[in-house]
């Protein structure tokens, strides 16, 4: 039996696409092994959103090649689009597959083992024809509803590597979800590059969410990363639906109005705060997590302070911080007043400490409350999973099953900067 190993970098969409590819390989008789094991096929689903992502992607390419020089090494994902020529010139990489052709990675590898060498550009291009994800790396079932982005934020390379916004037909989405629910999925996570810009034959993002929530079955719905301008009142009205999880990853990027304008974001910091207040008015412990870019060109001390103030004020459950790095071809590449790397590092440190403190406080507020935990990992009688607020929870019990919900009363919290909540089954 041939062995296949995957490494995924970056966003949830990449994770979904890897899950689908991993399932397809296993359905066709491959054994899935860890990336640090020897395999016949390595697939690296890369990311290029920052310099660091490029660096990591290159590192994993080197690792795969070291493990088995005779393996078939496929590099796909956003770096495959952005640095195609560089990657194609590396002899150890057999195939560089752009995002459009990612769905056909399996047929490419199969053809390779049959002695046929297909250039990836000849492969079928389809953004949405991924199969099931049931043998993937996640208990949660990710469903792709959209791809690409037309926003062209000045810092962002993604429109160049994921292409223009495209939405999956709503009926395909609903059919896909019914199918995964019938196979036992308990948590559906909708993914895409900019899901709030979903638009298909008059259906907007809010309509998709409403229709998913109206499906029958014992499941809950999680929205992954979304832009603050990507939804309307109808969506906000659905947040208290019993199947909706109280968690949104709402990308702020900066708390400074001038910086947001220069990033060409589609909202103001003030509007962002209003959204958070609206959401928390419906559900005070609603978990809002976010992304922050540190050291965007022209970010002065006052701008950085505004970001820190926003983080303190908005009580985020988690803040994912990125140091701004120039992406070739973006508008921000040509901006003057790039921030010194040392200043970015100092600000990152400040922001990370602040975020950790806020995260711990937020999590502590769950002590004494109940979470419905979807179990993802079991070791002996210790179960780990995520509650509906997307906070990690650990509890003990006999005969616990993976991919099942358990009502857990939170009794304590671990130490550290990313503490797991501990609890007891009710």
């Amino acid at each position: 039996m041939k062995k296949v190993a995957f490494k995924t970098l970056g966003c949830r969409l990449n994770q979904y696409e890897t899950d689908a590819l991993a399932s397809q390989f296993q359905d066709k008789g491959y054994e899935l092994v860890q990336f640090d094991e020897s395999a016949d096929v390595y697939v690296i689903n890369s990311c290029t959103v920052t310099h660091q992502s490029d660096h990591k992607s290159r590192n994993f390419i080197n690792q795969a090649n070291r493990r088995n020089k005779n393996s078939v090494l496929v590099v796909t994902g956003c770096m495959a689009n952005n640095a195609k020529e560089e990657l194609e010139s590396r002899e150890e990489i057999n195939y560089v597959v752009e995002n459009d052709q990612k769905t056909s990675v399996f047929s490419l590898v199969e053809a390779h083992f049959d002695g046929e060498i297909i250039h990836p550009s000849k492969l079928n291009a389809d953004l949405f024809s991924y199969g099931a994800t049931d043998k993937g790396f996640h208990t949660r079932s990710m469903i792709k509803i959209q791809d690409g982005c037309d926003n062209f934020c000045t810092f962002c390379i993604i429109p160049s590597v994921r292409g223009r916004a495209a939405s999956r037909p709503i009926q395909d989405i609903l059919t896909n979800i019914r199918e995964v629910i019938s196979h036992g999925a308990k948590e559906i996570v909708i993914t895409g590059v900019n899901i709030g810009r979903y638009e298909f034959e008059g259906y907007q993002f809010d309509d998709v969410v409403e229709q998913i929530l109206n499906l029958e079955g014992d499941f809950r719905l999680r929205i992954s990363s979304i832009e603050p301008d990507g939804f309307g009142e109808k969506f906000l009205g659905l947040l208290n639906h019993p199947k909706m999880t109280p968690h949104l990853h709402l990308c702020l990027q900066s708390g400074s109005e001038p910086v947001l304008l220069q990033m060409r974001r589609m909202y103001t910091a003030k509007r962002f705060k209003e959204i958070v207040q609206t959401v928390r008015a419906k559900n005070p412990d609603f978990n809002i997590t976010t992304d922050i870019i540190i050291g965007f060109p022209n970010e002065g001390e006052e701008d950085f302070s505004a970001t820190c103030d926003a983080i303190k004020e908005l009580n985020f459950g988690h803040v994912h911080t990125f140091k701004y790095s120039i992406r070739k071809g973006t508008r921000a590449e040509r901006m003057l007043n790039q921030v010194d790397e040392r200043i970015k590092t100092e600000r990152s440190e400040i922001l990370r400490n602040l975020s950790d403190e806020i995260k711990v406080n937020y999590r502590k507020s769950f002590i004494g409350k109940t979470q419905s935990v979807l179990v993802e990992k079991i070791e002996g009688n210790i179960a780990n999973g995520y509650g509906e607020h997307y906070i990690p929870v650990q509890f003990t019990g006999e005969n616990i099953e993976k991919n099942q919900f358990y009502k857990v009363k939170i009794t304590s919290i671990e130490d550290g900067s990313d503490p797991v909540l501990k609890g007891e089954i009710i």
């Binding site: 037309d150 062209f152 109005e257 304008l261 003030k270 509007r271 209003e274």
Partner: protein, 214 residues
């Protein structure tokens, strides 16, 4: 990416010009922008579309940037040259449902007038005013194309405009009715300041739309 033949170049000032291209089958929503560069060149820049949705040509308004890579090259292009057009991009668009019902104020600085020009050429029936901030009157690009009383020129470095000062000074002295839908296009500082002023004048967040020019 599509290749479009240049059919006219109009020099408005020594540094600002309009390139008119064949439209071919290109469609866009007024307010959107394209990226433009010489055919085959990797150097491209974003420009808002200046012409109307209904014109049978495509126009962009370009200001030559000192040490600019693309704007200087584009200024040298000639009738018959081909330019690569990608797009349209952007969400700086009018709400169809508001066009016949609402009062609009379009605030622009410099070449930020480009999408505004496209708005009013596409929908001349709109109830609107344009507030254009420039340094000197020469930069009031094709101001005669706006009907009488619709275009207010603010000149900051000479007294030749309808108002001497910045658009933000004009807004402070001439409060805007709170039911006005405002579109702001231009440099970041103007947008930031004007936004603040408009909000204080009671214009809520929803009716303010912005597009930053760099």
């Amino acid at each position: 990416m599509r290749s479009h033949k240049v059919i006219e170049i109009r020099n408005l000032t020594s540094s600002t010009y309009i390139i008119r291209m064949e439209k071919n089958d290109f469609t866009f929503k007024t307010g959107q922008y394209i990226t433009l560069g010489f055919s085959g060149s990797i150097d491209r820049r974003e420009y808002s579309i200046y012409s109307s949705e209904n014109d049978n040509f495509l126009e962009v308004l370009i200001k030559e940037v000192e040490n600019g890579l693309v704007s200087k090259k584009l200024k040298r292009c000639k009738t018959g040259d081909y330019l690569d057009v990608d797009g349209p991009f952007g969400h700086f668009s009018l709400e169809e449902s508001e066009i016949g019902r609402k009062k609009f104020l379009f605030i622009a600085t410099g070449t930020g007038i480009s999408p505004i020009h496209s708005f009013v050429e596409t929908h001349p029936e709109m109830d609107y005013r344009v507030l254009h901030g420039v340094r000197i009157e020469e930069e009031a690009y094709e101001k005669d194309s706006y009907p009488n009383g619709k275009y207010i020129l603010c000149t900051s470095r000479e007294k030749s405009g309808d108002y001497h000062g910045r658009v933000t000074d004009y807004l402070l002295k001439n409060p805007i009715p709170s039911d006005t839908v405002c579109y702001l296009c231009g440099n970041c500082h103007m947008i930031y300041e004007a936004y603040d002023i408009l909000e204080k004048q009671g214009i809520s967040l929803g009716p303010i739309h912005t597009e930053v020019y760099f």
